[in-house]
């Protein structure tokens, strides 16, 4: 047993870290570290830098311009970048539709879309959830009817992350209502600029615009924009979700937030003593740090198993649950750390380039909002209740 990275792995981590430190725009890094708003260009600028280094798609085979890395290197790449404050890779292209197209897409689709994902030319979003279909995804009702050379799509998607930036959406639509609900679903690729597509922002309780509703009103989609075969959409979606798992525990991000928490707790004073030196708060930090240590090791154990050829299985659901708990715990402690300064609402302060006078310490502005916002991480991508249902069946046979 050897809990340390090999020399090669360590060298690779150093290389990734050096790259991030050299190439990451300090202003963007600052926005990530301080929970400020990220603009489309913040994501894309970094995406293009990764692209020029050939590091956009760790999980794609080299044939398609990916890195073809093993599980350990993929993990190192993702965690080190997160720790360094790089914006998250917009996953919808690289980690979601990309692998689906590689596995099931037509040659034309691969040739057209994959390079545009790598270059950042296309911004994808995901059209799965609907107002009536959250945990019970397969009950979705957006329908598509073949009319000559086009699918005509009608319905509504929701929780569509960053759809305001996207020019493409991959959608699950119902093409056959006469069969079992999972069997009547088809996956379509839709240009967001097609007439009849409307995006409506959903504002969350932190005042931010991150998710959207997307309406389809007799939207005509070229027949060839189907992925694979009609009625197989559910299979592709399950494939996609199983490929979304790399870095699902978000250990790198959590380490970054833990560091930030310690900084803030060192700056906040209680009766003349730094908050981090008070027994209660210090031990709350210690408790989440231990949770995170355990999570990281559990993650590494699973990565190592994957590297040695075992397919990622039920363990990914565990990482999702524990990862979300650690993240939520951290955002909650960050909010607690600033005491009464959790109250003021100053969304302007999150805007890049804002130069106003902060209310209280500068770091306080985003913290309550982030806490509220991060309740989502135990909901999206299959709520923790759904994860436990899955584990109960797949891992325990209950």
């Amino acid at each position: 047993m050897d809990l340390k990275y090999s020399d090669e792995e360590r060298a690779f981590a150093d290389e990734v870290r050096a790259f991030a430190r050299a190439e990451l725009d300090p202003a963007v890094r600052d926005r990530v570290l301080n929970h400020k708003r990220l603009g489309k260009e913040d994501f894309l600028g970094w995406h293009r830098k990764l692209h020029s280094r050939g590091w956009v798609a760790p999980n794609w085979p080299t044939t398609y311009g990916g890195c073809g890395w093993n599980a350990v290197n993929r993990y190192i790449h993702e965690e080190v970048l997160a720790e360094e404050g790089a914006p998250p890779l917009v996953a919808f292209g690289v980690n979601m539709i990309g692998p689906v197209l590689i596995a099931f897409g037509s040659d034309a689709q691969k040739q057209y879309y994959l390079p545009r994902i790598l270059s950042g030319e296309d911004w994808w979003c995901q059209g799965f959830s609907e107002p009536g279909s959250g945990s019970d995804l397969a009950s979705l009702r957006t329908k598509a009817v073949l009319d000559g050379d086009h699918w005509v799509v009608t319905g509504q998607k929701t929780w569509t992350t960053l759809a305001q930036h996207a020019n493409l959406i991959f959608c699950l639509v119902r093409t056959d209502a006469s069969v079992k609900k999972q069997e009547g679903i088809t996956m379509l690729l839709i240009d967001m600029n097609t007439p009849g597509v409307t995006v409506r922002p959903i504002i969350t309780i932190d005042g931010e615009h991150e998710v959207n509703e997307v309406f389809f009103d007799d939207v005509r989609v070229p027949k060839e924009n189907i992925v694979g075969e009609p009625g197989k959409g559910w299979t592709y979606a399950k494939f996609l979700l199983s490929h979304e798992r790399s870095g699902i525990a978000r250990v790198g991000q959590a380490k970054r937030e833990l560091r930030r928490l310690k900084e803030i707790a060192a700056a906040e004073m209680v009766d003349g003593v730094p908050l981090i030196e008070t027994k209660t708060f210090r031990e709350k930090i210690a408790a989440v740090e231990i949770d995170l240590m355990a999570l990281e090791l559990t993650n590494l154990r699973m990565i190592a198993a994957e590297k040695s050829g075992q397919a990622p299985g039920a363990e990914a659901n565990m990482l999702k649950i524990k990862g979300s708990e650690v993240q939520q715990n951290l955002t909650e402690l960050l909010m607690e750390a600033v005491g009464p300064y959790a109250l003021p609402f100053n969304p302007d302060a999150l805007e890049p380039g804002w130069n106003g006078e902060p209310i209280g310490p500068e770091y306080a502005a985003p913290l309550a909002g982030t806490y509220f916002n991060y309740r989502k991480v135990s909901i999206y991508g299959g709520s923790n209740e759904i994860q436990r249902n899955i584990l109960s069946k797949s891992l325990l046979g209950l």
Binding site: I202, T204, I205, G339, A342, P344, F372, R375
Partner: protein, 377 residues
């Protein structure tokens, strides 16, 4: 032993219930928040018409009198409706200490105009570095002739956006954390040297940060005895906590009701999600958390004016711990069971969650009050 409401309380409950039912729905509240003040002056006028702005104020100053238990009835209703008008700042944090310690002149000048709905008040006590420590006061009051010159900064002054008068704490003596030497001053909004930065809080209430630069006030502005302001402030904050506990109970009750309704109406996998045992048990736990919180809110209101500060502190801190924990549990579980909708701005649930979260951050969080309770045990 009698847990039933008094006649007055029953009337207050009916009056405020009807008011918020008819005029303070979630959509009404949205409009109020979008208005220029972030709260509604007409609504405040209605509070005055209904006598709510006279609660806790002595009859000789045109008030209705009444106990903290009476105010708690209003607080609970306001919690259910997420009322954003500065009732806590004006009545509990402002009129409260004036009634406790103010001079006859101060009371006669201010309190009738509070009752009539004419004035808003705010307690400017917390400071940028004070966190939840009540004796931490850096603002200085320097004697200058017969006057005082106040210099310092005050942070997150609830209702400070609208206040016509501030009750400002400042040191006439002692070092930063000394319990003695703190005085309370009545300071009009328009006084020279007072800079006010008003802002909304993330839960829709409002506050302000103040900077005082040699703000001149006469000796007659001292509330109570100079240098002995801390007991009044501590008593006032304990009363405010009792108010917040009752408000939180109202918010929890409303949020539980919303959540239960959602469990019964939201269907997934062909059945209401309330058919899932895990959600059923969690909802039961939320109801238990509410009942425990309600018990402690009752205790806090009962003891908020206890003649023994030690008994008062124990009961109020215990209640604040319970409310903090129940509110956190109910808020988090409610969002989780709602899914995404629970954190959208257009749904009421998330707003209760925010309010409950910020109540825990106000006047000391659960950790702070657990330590205070343990120290007083």
């Amino acid at each position: 032993m009698d847990f039933s409401l008094s006649e007055t309380q029953r009337m207050l409950a009916e009056t405020t219930d009807r008011l918020v039912r008819e005029r303070y729905g979630f959509e009404d509240r949205k409009k109020i928040l979008a208005g220029p003040d972030g709260f509604s002056r007409p609504m405040w006028a209605t509070f005055a018409e209904l006598g709510l702005t006279g609660l806790g104020i002595a009859e000789e100053h045109d008030g209705l009198g009444g106990t903290m238990g009476d105010m708690a009835v209003v607080a609970e209703t306001f919690g259910r409706a997420l009322v954003v008008e500065p009732y806590l700042p004006t009545l509990v944090l402002g009129a409260g200490p004036l009634g406790l310690a103010g001079s006859d002149a101060q009371k006669s000048e201010i309190l009738p105009r509070v009752v009539s709905g004419e004035l808003f008040l705010a307690l400017a006590h917390g400071e940028p570095k004070s966190r939840y420590t009540l004796c931490h006061v850096d603002t200085k009051a320097a004697a200058d002739g017969g006057d005082f010159l106040l210099t310092g900064a005050k942070a997150v002054v609830l209702g400070g956006d609208a206040a016509d008068y501030f009750l400002v704490s400042a040191r006439t003596d002692g070092t930063t954390s000394a319990p003695h030497g703190i005085s309370l001053f009545l300071v009009p909004r328009s006084v020279p040297g007072l800079a006010i930065r008003a802002y909304p809080n993330i839960d829709g209430t409002r506050a302000a940060d103040l900077v005082l630069d040699r703000v001149r006030v006469p000796a007659s502005a001292v509330i109570g005895q100079a240098g002995h302001g801390l007991p009044t402030i501590a008593h006032t904050i304990d009363r405010a906590i009792a108010y917040l506990c009752a408000e939180a109970v109202g918010a929890m009750q409303a949020l539980n009701a919303l959540t239960l309704d959602y469990l019964k109406t939201r269907t997934q996998f062909g059945q209401p999600i309330g058919a899932f045992q895990v959600l059923q048990h969690r909802m039961v736990d939320m109801e238990m958390a509410l009942e425990q919180a309600r018990s402690m809110a009752i205790l806090a209101a009962d003891r908020a004016d206890d003649p023994h500060p030690h008994e008062r502190a124990r009961a109020v801190s215990a209640a604040k711990v319970q409310i903090g924990r129940s509110g956190r549990m109910i808020g988090q579980c409610s969002v989780q069971m709602h899914g995404g909708i629970g954190i959208t701005d257009e749904y009421a649930g998330g707003h209760y969650f925010k309010r409950l979260t910020l109540i825990d951050r106000t006047f000391g969080d659960a950790d702070h009050h657990l330590a205070r309770f343990a120290a007083a045990a």
